[in-house]
């Protein structure tokens, strides 16, 4: 099953490599990993999307908690949560495709950030599966370049991850 883990960790050099090293050393999957400092500059918040059985997830959580730089770990997928990912896509937009591109972008609530006479650069946010769906809606030939941030997540309502 797919899980979204949210971590608070000490904002110290090396903390990221400890987490990444743990996943590779123990053969756990990482689908995506994002990290940035929080409003408290001594802490970073990391979101990891991983896939594994319940037993594997239990071990991943325990092993992450064991890392001295990791302050807190929660599995967002255990409760209701919000997941968002940002994607930038540069597409070919010429002749009759130009109108079509704009239309598909609008359907997915994309924003066109940059325009040339041959291309559009579209910004899109949503869940991972929404971004995947956007790809499916496009003609592959038209995609020139893409970049995705990987998922970020937060609990709904009163579910708060804080020290």
């Amino acid at each position: 099953m797919r899980h979204i883990l949210s971590l608070l960790l000490e904002n110290e050099s090396g903390a990221l490599s400890r987490v990444a090293g743990l996943f590779s050393a123990r053969g756990y999957n990482i689908e995506s990993l994002t990290v940035a400092p929080t409003e408290d500059p001594s802490l970073s918040r990391m979101t990891i999307v991983t896939i594994g059985s319940d037993e594997v997830l239990e071990q991943i959580t325990k092993q992450l908690n064991k890392l001295v730089d990791v302050v807190k770990v929660i599995d967002l997928t255990e409760g209701s949560h919000i997941e968002r990912e940002l994607m930038l896509v540069k597409v070919r937009a010429v002749a009759k495709d130009r109108e079509e591109m704009k239309r598909i972008s609008d359907i997915f609530r994309g924003r066109i950030l940059d325009v040339t006479d041959k291309t559009y650069t579209i910004e899109l946010t949503g869940t991972g599966s929404k971004l995947d769906a956007f790809f499916d809606a496009l003609d592959r030939e038209a995609i020139l370049e893409t970049v995705r941030t990987g998922a970020s997540g937060i609990g709904r309502g009163d579910r708060i991850l804080k020290v």
Binding site: E10, S13, G14, Q59, Q63, V68, D69, V70, V71, V163
Partner: protein
Amino acid sequence: MEMTGGQVAELSGAEIVSRCLAEEQVEFLFGYPGGAVLPIYDELFKQDKVKHILVRHEQAGVHAADAYARATGKVGVALVTSGPGVTNAISGIATAHLDSVPMVVLTGQVPTKAIGEDAFQEVDTVGITRPCVKHNILVKRAQDIAPAIKKAFHIAATGRPGPVVVDIPKDITLETTNYFYPKSVALRSYNLVTRGHSGQIRKAVELLLSAKRPMIYSGGGIIMGNASELLTQFVHALGYPCTNTLMGLGAFPATDPLFLGMLGMHGTYEANMAMQDCDVLLAIGARFDDRVIGNPEHFMSVNRKIIHVDVDPSSISKRVKVDIPIVGDVSEVLKSMLEHVAELSKGSGKSDVDAWWKQISVWREKDCSKFGVSDTVIKPQSVVKTFYELTKNEDVFVTSDVGQHQMWAAQYYKFDRPRRWINSGGLGTMGVGLPYAMGCQFAYPDALVACITGEASIQMCIQELSTAKQYNLPIKVITLNNRYLGMVRQWQEFFHGNRHSESYMDALPDFVKLAESYGHVGMRIENPSDVEGALKEAIALKDRLVFMDFITDQAENVYPMIPGGKGLSEMILDGSSD
């Protein structure tokens, strides 16, 4: 991180390092100098609180610090230079990591400005050690040295112990800064659970008392948690059978009638059968290693309830799903369990386990540790057995290397006390034996320290005979010389069509002359009738290192044996006839 307490003074980084070690009451610092740590060595020269031990190879220095920690329960400390000093230390660090040994390794680093420039003797120490430490810290400013060292000792010694590396660039050891040594440290990201959940503990004791075929399986965690006495009380209170892992030997007295011997790949028939057939298993301070339970599917194919006590939550339900997990320190949990036993066994009492003990005595009758005797060739088992008989009333520290000799030492030396059996279980590092003996002998200068080794393993840190001479360490080296990488040969016989691919030790040195050239006493023993005399003579040479080269049966194998992939009850027993 919060730090409190301490006096302020203006000192160089190097002096701070030496002051911190003194504050931690470090008795011995095992090390080897080099460019990046020269300022620290200069400070060590000026003080007399911490005694530096000059080894002959960094690996051995780390092993010696590791053994000092295992034998005393204190944190072992080593110091190495940057680059090659660090790479040489890796085997030692990884060995301590897999056996959860509290250790602080200080490593020199190139100056902060040179880091990342492929400077002379630069390696990414934090990167290269990360997978084999409990934690590591690259210190970047002189004022951070003392807090980093405090933090390192704290992390190394608490919870599930382990090695911590503190990497110190040369330039900050030359800078001066305000020094104060924190009295305590609190880390928001490092919180330990020690108490154990009281509801779970009660449930566990109820389950144990209701068992018809109970079994207590304990390991290295009992030794690390200094809980041997509590465990012994607990096992006696219940009257249940107890087994120990290789790392747990001595946690429960080997000569106690309730002891079934070691379990696992080379464990006893009775311990493995009882482990497989029990209906309630208490695993305490042990981690269901693959050398212990064999094939996990085979192990889990039987219906039994498992209680698992461990301070590290990740040890629980890692390889084997358990019914009652208890996260906590072995001492705390055992104390609480003992109270429950006293209370609960008053009422309905515990169920009758006589039939179970009858079954166990049937298994015991197999006498799986018998071995053939010979008048012409020395049986390796007999050397260990004789040594045990000669020394069983003394307080002896036995270290070992890795291979068949290690298993025979574990099987035939009966350890009644914790911290007396020092070996590498998790990493299985050949070469540890002699440095381990050094670490023990430094810690206990008057004790009898023996290293039971093989002719191959001993050569992996043989240079330490020189260190042993320098510090007059009267270690007794007992080499079971079978002219083979015996354990490798044994596996080749079982699993590779008896093809001895590169498992033969050709061109062996004359160990007697070798020992003598280092200034020690050497003995070569070839006849079974000389074994006892030689051992007695060596033991009597109280102030000399004696290197005993026992020329043993080349064909002997270690039994019982659970072949790889097989289950606990699928042991190969018969080896006594050859």
